[in-house]
Amino acid sequence: MTTPLLSVKDLVVEFQTGDGIVRAVNNVSFDIPIGKTIGIVGESGSGKSVTSLAVMGLLQKPAAVVPQGEILFNGVDLLKCSESKMRELRGNQISMIFQEPMTSLNPVFKVGEQIAEALRIHKNLSKKEAWEKAVHLMNQVGIPNPAISAHKFPHEMSGGQKQRVMIAMAISCEPKLLIADEPTTALDVTIQKQVLELLFKLQQEYHMSMMFITHDLGVIGDIADDVVVMYRSNVVEKNNAQNIFKSAMHPYTKGLLACRPKLGANPRRLLTVSDFMTEEGKEKVIPVDRVQVFDKETVADKTDHVLLEVKNLVTQFPIKGGFFGGTVDQFKAVNDVSFKIKKGKTFGLVGESGCGKTTLGRSILRLVEPAAGSIIYDGKDITHFKHEELRQLRKKMQIIFQDPYSSLNPRMTISDILMEPLVIHNEGGTKAQRFDMARALIEKVGLNSNQMNRYPHEFSGGQRQRICIARALMLRPEFVVCDESVSALDVSIQAQVLNLLLDLQEEFGLTYIFISHDLSVVNFIADEVGVMYAGKIIEMDKASNIYKNAKQDYTRALLSAIPKGETKQSMASLV
């Protein structure tokens, strides 16, 4: 057996925090052979990103310490290398792609310059040569008109293009090892598929080794040879990808595999990691009713009562121009959209970023003003409701946003956040009664009620989204818009939140509009699905039909972009 390119042995990384020492990586060992891809899977906080930063030598010192372990790269221990030696390796032999393409590029430099920079320092190319190479690389990663695009600034490109630029930058010096840290998590599923294909193609061409970090096992199946599963700072399972997908050993891995919604055969509730293992990590037996496949068709419609009807809705934004900044044109974000939702049902809206689905959700709640058409809620035309009428209506209609990190006021405690809607609408009686309501709801969404006096930053992303859900439910609404409410969450957490939304719908008879870019998620939760493209709903059908009989090419493209959770052969056929 040849020596692997990278060999991590018994790595321990600890962080010194105000509350003492936290061990982020505990005795982690794995090898990456030359030309192979290793997938590292785990949820946020499992230590996978810290491991990659340790390989890059980019741990934030002095807070991070490595008391034990070796990271051998070509036989050299990177942990013992000087900073100047590490700088020679970084970007040259080992390079990295990060999760967030929006913020990972320097906003004030042309993308061509940013790609050329690494070439100039590592390969001693002249300014002109480096630029030409950068244009060539941009062509290779599939950016159209590379000679012109190289002069663009990051804000002039889409998220997918920016990630391609990041990839061009990372491969510019033909590295031996490429570390990709959640490279597709911030992207729409359709873009994710393209980026994965690109990475796979480049890996073959350059014969690179790749360390691919993700929270989604489904993504990694397409691309990895071996998989390392991390859970709470430890490696819990290591195997080749086929074995992981066919016969996972560890209950956590089984949970990760099960929690992604699959098209077609869905159970009533998604399985989650907690169905497979106890808090202490012991394996559990899954109750039979949890895995029963559930056909939405068989459940008779309890009601024919239409709660919401949208008729020919148009929402537009002015395009400013002219000498005194007047409006020169209108951009129709929502263009002639009509649909109905029955009480207690879920309408799923699916489409890529910028298709107008968020604007549609906000127009319905009258958070943005529609320009034409009408919104009929519970038999009343609410399109032109003003002040007091609108205030009364807002009690019944709530929204849960995408980003649980920025949609909770960081200076308010959880109990204040939850009680605020009651205070605004002067409901819920005395302060003590309001607090009791908040406590009941926080327990309902699965949090501990003795954490009510804590602040948002003390909670994880999934917990915060639960708080957002509880806040939306405080006024006992009938109708809730979930705007990409699970997109920022790890798949394992996503499954829990989806289940919670379904439980709450059953208990309170809620009606949802569920907005997402991921058709598999929408297909799982919704009764009816509308596919949105360029401001219009181009296809609408029952959730159980749409994946079988998609009529539009666009819908089929969305369907095929969903990670299948299969192994590498499927991708190899593409190259």
């Binding site: 970007g91 990972s104 906003p107 004030v108 430099f109 690494a118």
Partner: protein
């Protein structure tokens, strides 16, 4: 872009009208009869009436307002009540010593502060960073008067390195006169400047693109000077450019203590002798200065940050 600049310059018209209205209300309506102050307690009614006639104070309020508006657009401010000189000439004379002091002091203090901030940002969290921060706070906590009096007594009087006060026209004759006040200026500005620049630079250092730059293998200094500083430029430009109008107005305290015949001293004299026309002139000039340099800093944004575009 040209369109944008023309539009912004046109916006100056309503702003100047507003400024002249506020100045007019302050001086002609709210404040008392200036002739009583000018002539002293023993003035007769006839003297006061004559002076009023002379100063144009018996015109209708509307016409008086028109006069102010006119002066705001023509920069013809009439004559000083106290010195009887033409005000535009006084300003031209006073601007030279003021600028001799303020421009070099301002440029040197900004450059030194930027240099120190990049240096402490490089050593952030280490002993030297803490030391510089403590020195900055300590320096800011001491009154400007204390610096002026001590420096004047020690360096000029005791050691005799500089002239104690006064001014002489022409380069390099003015250097011994302005050197000490300029040094005090620099000492006074470094504290707040370094604190501001350091914060702005450190805000950028934790951004994702800095991590990307590190992953390329760039050295920390290259990252700071090339990547971080360029992004920190927007708040720095705002902070620096908006100080420029005040350079023209002169340094009230420094010019007085060092007897430099600049605009700061002139304004102080005008305040002491209720010389309304001079005060009005300085108020109008400073607002025009702020409008123009506000525009210049906006234009500089587009140079520093490609995301900002004006149409």
């Amino acid at each position: 872009m040209t369109k944008y600049i023309i539009r912004r310059l046109l916006y100056m018209i309503p702003v100047l009208l507003g400024v002249s209205l506020i100045i007019f209300v302050l001086f002609n309506v709210v404040s008392g009869d200036p002739t009583a102050v000018l002539l002293g307690r023993h003035a007769t009614a006839r003297q006061m009436a004559e002076l009023k006639e002379q100063l144009g104070l018996n015109k209708s309020l509307f016409l008086q307002y028109i006069d102010i508006v006119k002066s705001a657009f023509t920069f013809d401010f009439g004559h000083s009540w106290a010195t009887k000189q033409e005000i535009s000439k006084m300003i031209r004379q006073g601007a030279y010593p003021s600028l001799c002091l303020s421009v070099p002091a301002f440029i040197i203090s900004t450059v030194i502060s930027l240099f120190i901030s990049v240096f402490v940002a490089y050593y952030r969290g280490k002993g030297i960073d803490l030391f510089v921060r403590v020195v900055c706070i300590a320096g800011m906590s001491i009154s400007a008067l204390a610096y002026i009096l001590f420096f004047q007594w020690f360096f000029a009087y005791k050691l005799g390195w500089f002239e104690i006060s006064g001014f002489e026209d022409g380069f390099p004759n003015f250097i011994p006169y302005i050197a000490l006040p300029a040094i005090i200026w620099i000492v006074l500005s470094i504290g707040p400047d370094v604190r501001f620049f350091r914060t702005v630079i450190l805000d950028e250092i934790y951004q994702d693109y800095v991590r990307t730059a590190r992953s390329k293998g760039l050295s920390e200094m290259t990252i700071l000077l090339h990547h971080v500083l360029r992004n920190a430029m927007i708040p720095i430009i705002t902070y620096v450019v908006i100080q420029i109008p005040s350079l023209i107005l002169g340094a009230l305290l420094l010019e007085n203590f060092f007897s430099i015949p600049g605009l700061g001293g002139m304004t102080l004299n005008a305040l002491n002798s209720s010389d309304f026309p001079v005060m009005k002139a300085m108020a109008i000039i400073s607002s025009v200065g702020y409008i123009i340099f506000g525009l210049i800093s906006d234009i500089l944004y587009t140079v520093a940050d490609p995301r900002i575009k004006f149409k």
